[in-house]
């Protein structure tokens, strides 16, 4: 015999206990209790209970076992008014869920009773399309994308490493990208600095990079710092950012950025390149990892190492390393996976089996900057620091260092 809507609802009421929003709130004090919001994703986005699990009614039977494997757990279902969730409750009972409750009045009643709820970020149509591939990844999803859009990442240098990092962060929708550079685009940059362009030669790199970033993603706010980083200005610049990415090309800047990030407790995604080799890691002593000083207490003596301008670098190599730096920044922002804290990936791209190695790094308890008893608690003169090291009595200055600088 054909059933009427009323008949179906009456049947459902016989199997699913109805509770008020107040009773639901009390039940949810018990961490065993779970609340399922069966409204459509469009309705969910407008606002929902903070602890709710979203399973639109149409997907309920297909997805509920994965989200709630234990059929004995108390399950509160709700929709907007209480009818769809009543039917959802009946379906759950049929699937063997033993303690199913329907929240009468649904989300509207919850809200009207002044109970707490949260609203996810509202994405525009454009954003929904632009980030659709991110939304498909469970580790990113709408929550993760919202984190990216709210994130602020600072690139130290808009050159070879900064190019891929800046472009990928922009494409990924990192809401604010800061750029520190004082240089202008040169023809010799374009073999590797893919954020710049031939028709922007002579333009400030920050301005050129801003154009490229906004051409990919007009939604990104670019903060330009057209200045040389110094011990005087760096703390003010990095203060507003969540993650710093080191794309610099010289030792004084690397030590300056490291020390400032240690003092400001900012995670620092780091990368460096030389010809066909490169490495990347994350320095974050605040999370137990080492800093650059733990790894290299002193720079190589000044004037001994060939620079990139002398030794060269394969154009694609910074693409690899800068992309890893961007990836690490995104992992940190999303809080997914294991960031490369205490691990350095080291690429020897001319090799086959030895193409990449992972080296284990450790925080040095005796580190002068991040150690247990730091001896240096403020920024110093890094040009002087890097100029003060000497090769020793037997050394000659010319071409004798293991370390390499690539200042242009």
């Amino acid at each position: 015999m054909a059933k009427t809507v009323k008949g179906i609802l009456d049947e459902a009421r016989a199997q699913v206990k109805e509770i008020t929003v107040e009773q639901a709130r009390e039940m949810l004090q018990d961490p065993q209790a779970v609340v399922v919001d069966v409204r459509e994703s469009e309705e969910w986005r407008q606002g929902h209970l903070a602890q709710a699990v979203s399973i639109p009614r149409g997907f309920l039977e297909l997805r509920v076992e994965e989200k709630i494997p234990d059929r004995r757990r108390p399950v509160i279902v709700h929709c907007a008014m209480g009818l769809r969730s009543l039917l959802a409750g009946r379906a759950l009972r049929e699937m063997g869920y033993e303690n199913v409750y329907n929240m009468a009045g649904g989300f509207n009643a919850w809200k009207n009773n002044g109970l707490p709820w949260v609203a996810d970020r509202q994405f525009t149509e454009d954003e929904l399309a632009r980030y659709s591939r991110h939304f498909l990844i469970p580790e990113v999803g709408e929550k993760g994308q919202a984190k990216l859009l709210d994130a602020k990442v600072l690139l130290i240098g808009a050159g070879a490493l900064g190019s891929p990092a800046g472009l990928y962060l922009a494409a990924a929708g990192v809401g604010t990208i800061g750029l520190v550079d004082f240089d202008v685009v040169d023809l010799s940059n374009l073999q590797r600095q893919i954020i710049h362009a031939t028709d922007r030669i002579g333009m400030l790199k920050t301005e050129s990079a801003q154009k490229a970033i906004n051409a990919i993603n007009p939604g990104v706010n670019v903060a330009r710092h057209d200045t040389r980083l110094t011990s005087e200005n760096i703390m003010g610049i990095i203060a507003g950012y969540d993650v710093v990415i080191n794309c610099s090309d010289n030792f004084p800047t690397r030590y300056l950025v490291n020390d400032a990030c240690v003092f400001a407790k900012k995670p620092l995604a780091d990368g460096a390149i030389f010809q066909f080799e490169g490495n990347a890691t994350v320095f974050d002593p605040a999370r137990g990892g080492p800093c650059y000083r733990c790894l290299y207490p002193e720079p190589p003596p000044a004037g001994m190492a060939p620079s990139c301008a002398e030794a060269g670098v394969l154009g694609v190599l910074p693409g690899l390393i800068g992309s890893i730096e961007a990836l690490e920044a995104i992992k940190l922002i999303l809080g997914v996976g294991k960031p490369l804290i205490g691990s350095m990936v080291y690429f020897n791209t001319l090799a086959d089996r030895d193409f990449v190695r992972v080296l284990r790094l450790r925080r040095d308890p005796k580190c002068p900057v991040c150690g247990d008893h730091p001896t240096q608690t403020e920024l110093i003169d890094y040009e002087a620091f890097c100029a003060s090291v000497s090769f020793g009595a037997n050394g000659t200055a010319e071409g004798s260092a293991a370390g390499v600088s690539s200042t242009e």
Binding site: E298, R360, A401, A402, G403, T407
Partner: protein, 92 residues
């Protein structure tokens, strides 16, 4: 004890351009001494005038930093993989 040493680009002029060389020794110090015999000039790039590891060079045995093992006295065994990783500054 034969070990493999992975030589970074800036130091390959001491190894005739080769990126992996082998050497013998039971400690890292012995390995570096042996390296010096076959590739003269390399030791000075790794060790300072007091014979200690330079502060801008890291050496890893099987991926572990020797500063947190036993420095130059770290023991090595047959087939160990040694990586020399100098500070590099390049980014542009």
């Amino acid at each position: 004890m034969a070990v493999q040493i992975r030589v970074p680009t800036p130091l390959r002029r001491f190894t005739g351009g080769t990126d992996v060389v082998s050497a013998n020794g039971s400690s890292l110090r012995e390995v570096i001494d042996d390296l010096e015999r076959s590739h003269p000039g390399l030791r000075e790039r790794l060790l300072d005038e007091n014979g200690e590891l330079r502060r801008f060079v890291n050496i890893f045995i099987n991926g572990d930093d020797v500063r947190f093992l036993d420095q130059l006295s770290s023991q090595v065994k047959d087939g160990d993989d040694i990586s020399i990783v100098p500070a590099i500054a390049g980014g542009r």
